[in-house]
């Protein structure tokens, strides 16, 4: 039984033996992307779970060339890697970054914006687990409304995070970047295709992939893929691309599955009241109104 997607990517493993928690969505995103890009990918990882679990001397789990950057400097190091290799005459390589949500939407946003502005020939992948996981679950700019973290606890009066998730995809697109996309590890075929597409495009590419963290989200390790699928199916996340100045939706759920059931499966949302869930559902509907007006569907 041939699987076309499996045939289209490397059979080799480039992220192996890592110490991520069982069922870690971020590690699945990194693994899949590197199997697309192959042995000549040069990866840059800032502080965060993926560098913490991948580089524990002498256990070095990337079998392609990889380097840890400063927390804020994923994109600037990618710029340097790309320019340096090009200056030395290398042609067949891909500079790819894997940064968390905190490393992207908060501390690394300036370097990312600069790289997009210069249109450096790099792929920047944000694996979004919706909090600063490696330091023990603190709120980031990409933590969704209502989520409980150690810095946004759920109490009687305040029910977790009071701010909505930053819209990094459209922030990247607003630079008029050559290619930006959203993805989810629950739809791995779509993610693989987007990394493939990004690798064929000249200039800066940004891919934002939802990558659940069983530890921080309060789900069982075997639920990572399902929950990453469900967030798309219930409409709280969407699969889209930005290219040639326009937005395109790649996947339109016929009917949304229940937002409540998505939220209540996860420890970080279990405290939410019916009103909180209504607020979240209303914000979803508003987002989809925007999508139906502004995206090619």
């Amino acid at each position: 039984m041939a699987n076309k997607v499996a045939e289209s990517i490397s059979r080799e493993e480039f992220f192996y033996g890592h110490k991520a928690c069982a069922g870690c969505g971020g590690s699945l995103a990194v693994r899949a992307a590197l199997k697309v890009l192959g042995p000549n990918a040069v990866s840059v990882l800032p502080a965060g779970c993926m560098s913490a679990v991948g580089f524990n001397f002498p256990q070095l789990c990337f079998s392609n060339n990889s380097i840890i950057s400063t927390f804020a400097g994923t994109a600037s190091m990618l710029t340097g890697v790309e320019a340096g290799l090009r200056a030395r005459g290398y042609k067949d390589f891909t500079a790819v970054g894997f940064a968390g949500d905190g490393g992207t939407a908060d501390i690394g946003i300036q370097a990312l914006s600069g790289a997009i502005d210069r249109n450096d020939n790099i792929i920047y992948i944000c694996y979004d687990n919706e909090a600063y996981m490696n330091t023990g679950i603190q709120k980031s700019g990409l933590t969704p409304f209502g989520a409980k973290t150690t810095t946004t606890p759920a109490g009687k009066n305040i029910h977790g995070n009071i701010r909505p998730k930053k819209n990094m995809f459209e922030i990247a697109a607003a630079h008029d970047i050559p290619y930006a996309a959203t993805a989810s590890v629950g739809y791995i075929y779509d993610f693989i295709q987007k990394v493939q597409k990004a690798s064929q495009i000249q200039g800066t590419k940004y891919i934002h992939v939802i990558a659940p963290c069983p530890t921080g989200w309060g789900v069982a390790p075997d639920e990572t893929v399902e929950i990453a699928k469900e967030v798309v199916d219930c409409g709280l996340w969407y699969l889209a691309e930005y290219e040639n100045g326009g937005f395109k939706l790649n996947h339109k759920p016929k009917e949304f599955t229940s937002v409540e059931s998505y939220l209540k499966k996860q420890g970080r949302f279990r405290h939410l009241t019916d009103e909180d869930i209504q607020v979240i559902t209303a914000s979803r509907d508003k987002k989809w109104e925007f999508i139906s007006k502004n995206f090619v569907i």
Binding site: A6, P58, L60, C61, V225
Partner: protein
Amino acid sequence: MRPYIREKKSFTFDEVPENTCFEAGYLTTVNSGWRSIRPAVNSEKCVGCEQCYLYCPDGVIAINDGKAVIDYDFCKGCGICAKICRIGAIEMEAERK
């Protein structure tokens, strides 16, 4: 090819690379001790669709002669493969020591 376990050697302080630059894909420890449950593939049932191979976060599943085969040195027993297999060819069993 996958990275493989190297001979375990202890590094003296002087041998730890100064510029933190070292061979890529150098593995010295397995992850099998993390498991409390382990996936068991029923080869009779497996149709080699490669779903489990694509979704395993640890990349420990390979397809050999059309059947899923697991590298138990590095499988963490997360159970994602068992859930993703549509025809139920993988079951999670108690880990035997």
